[in-house]
Subunit: 346 residues, 2 copies
């Protein structure tokens, strides 16, 4: 089955996107449908060894939505953008999943409007896998919705639990609300009401999580609105980069520290691998009725490869079907078609 | 002049608090008024060499507000808590500044209700100094207000600019809004409206700052609501701790990396010093009509020493008088008394 690739999405598109997707296809037998200006894609493909016949398809999409464009206006104006055309392939069943490292807002809106939402879900959420000292955890929403209501956070918690069970193999994921303190009284209006609702839910809710405990591994599913989630992840990324820079600087001071750095470079590589977003490659958009993986705007070749692998795995594991099965309102679930057949929202 | 010290505030009080404050008093000629149970304070003081006559006073306060207590209820119930009694010393002019490493919410409320707010300010903000790759910057609000309106963020920006000018010596501080993207269209309802207001202000407003740029030094004053600010700082703290743990682990793998770690330990010390919150010690509460420095709940001896030094410097530098002078509504400013004389709010 094919993965629809927005060939023009991201700061280093189409170069990194095509090279990374080809690497995934080669190692895991994934079919690729590149979406974008055909000429440009062919030129890029010519720089790499060919795959077996039929493994690669190209679907023409002349327009590109830039990283800085306002998503809603851009999607309205550009009816033939690569991200929209790629999403439509999934909606028509011609691909099992969509990957884009482009404009996150535009990708979320294209997937939302083309796939529609799963029954029982009011907002989709980006679920980012993060490293902790003990194991991998999921943080959501990492950027799909800047404004959320308490019931949305509860839906994120439920979807995140199912995703953590399937993708991370955690049988009863510990769910926590990201907050400014552990006590029930801490938080803003949004999280305090979500706390009340989560306490009554059947989820394994362990309460509030202070941000300093995100990386200790105390929780498996960390829930917040998309504005807070974006800040939390991006500041961590910036912190790691600044720390590496400071350490490099510190270690160049004397001969013995330079020699020490030389000896410990293997440890540094190990460290970077543990905290590198590229290991996970992309974040699934949970709650829409089709598989969509959103990549980092600055995705490296390796990040794209891992994200395309994730897209294939995510679609095959049936996480969305599981979410539909477990979360759809009981009275209406029976009458609905399969996830892939859900109709468009707008 | 005396600094009023909440001797019972913090996870390691009164031990670290008293030892750190004594170190500051010894090196900088600061007078200390310890507030708390007199017996307990005397026992702790007996463990250290005495200071010169009159440098230390003790004011009895039999009650303590714990870290996990709900601030408003605790302050109502405990009329003689160490934090409230210490704040009252400043309001009466018997001390020039207040320091507490205790319950942040209770400290903010005690200072707010005892000192009152400066004219033109609707909410106080905690201004935390953070390290960046190029210089120190200020992030506010780091935790005084979990719910903010756009006009509050504008007031934070103005107060933060004055503080950065005086404390960090930056003549025209670059002010930025912490957001989920650089473009004007990014952000939530709160930050988008604050953006519009800041553009019209006389401040040196440079727009939105993505969280990944907080530590690159692109902005001098980083403005956000207190919920977001708390998450941003606490997750950074957790990230540094996790990174240190991972590096230590990685470096113990082989003899050469262990040897490398041994040689580079000086670099590690330098690194830790650069990112250590204890270097700054505490955050001034801007906007209240009296000097108040809030310390980290887990303050070390060194953090307390630096925070008490900051308290003395902050009061002498006249930052609050400057804020009052520059931000008070022109029509009413003339009729108001000095900062120290402002009346209580509640």
């Amino acid at each position: 089955m094919q993965i629809a690739i927005d060939a023009m999405g991201g700061d280093f598109a189409p170069g990194n996107v095509i090279e990374g997707a080809l690497a995934a296809a080669r190692s895991a037998g994934i079919g690729l449908t590149f979406v974008g200006p055909e000429e440009r894609i062919r030129r890029e493909l010519d720089r790499h060894p060919p795959l077996e016949d039929g493994a690669i398809q190209i679907v023409e999409a002349p327009e590109t939505i830039d990283m800085a464009e306002a998503p809603a206006a851009a999607l309205r104006r550009k009816r033939h953008s690569s991200i929209r055309v790629a999403a439509e392939l999934v909606a028509r069943g011609e691909a099992i999943a969509l990957f884009s490292a482009g404009n996150t807002g535009a990708t979320v809106m294209a997937a939302h409007s083309t796939f529609g939402l799963l029954p029982g879900i009011d907002r989709p959420a980006l679920a980012t896998t993060i490293p902790t000292l003990t194991h991998a955890a999921v943080l959501l929403d990492s950027g799909a919705n800047v404004e959320c209501r308490p019931v949305h956070l509860v839906q994120f918690a439920a979807m995140g639990s199912i995703h953590a069970r399937i993708e991370l193999g955690i049988s009863s994921p510990r769910v926590a609300l990201l907050s400014n303190g552990e006590e029930e009284s801490k938080g803003n209006d949004l999280t305090r009401e979500a706390y009340r609702l989560l306490k009554q839910s059947p989820l394994n809710f362990i309460g509030n999580l202070e941000a300093r405990d995100v990386y200790t591994g105390r929780a498996d599913v960390i829930v917040c609105d998309g504005f807070t989630g974006n800040i939390a992840l991006k500041i961590s990324e910036g912190m790691v980069e600044a720390a590496q820079e400071l350490l490099r600087e510190a270690m160049s001071h004397t001969f013995s520290t330079r020699f020490g750095y030389f000896l410990s470079r293997r440890a540094f590589r190990y460290f970077r691998r543990r905290v590198d977003y590229a290991e996970y490659g992309g974040a699934p958009l949970l709650g829409v009725a089709g598989a969509c993986i959103v990549g980092h705007g600055r995705s490296s070749v390796k990040a794209v490869r891992n994200a395309v692998n994730l897209a294939s795995r995510f679609a095959r594991q049936g996480t969305l079907q599981r979410i539909e099965h477990e979360l759809a309102p009981q009275t209406t679930a029976a009458g609905r078609g399969p996830v892939e057949g859900s109709s468009a929202v707008s």
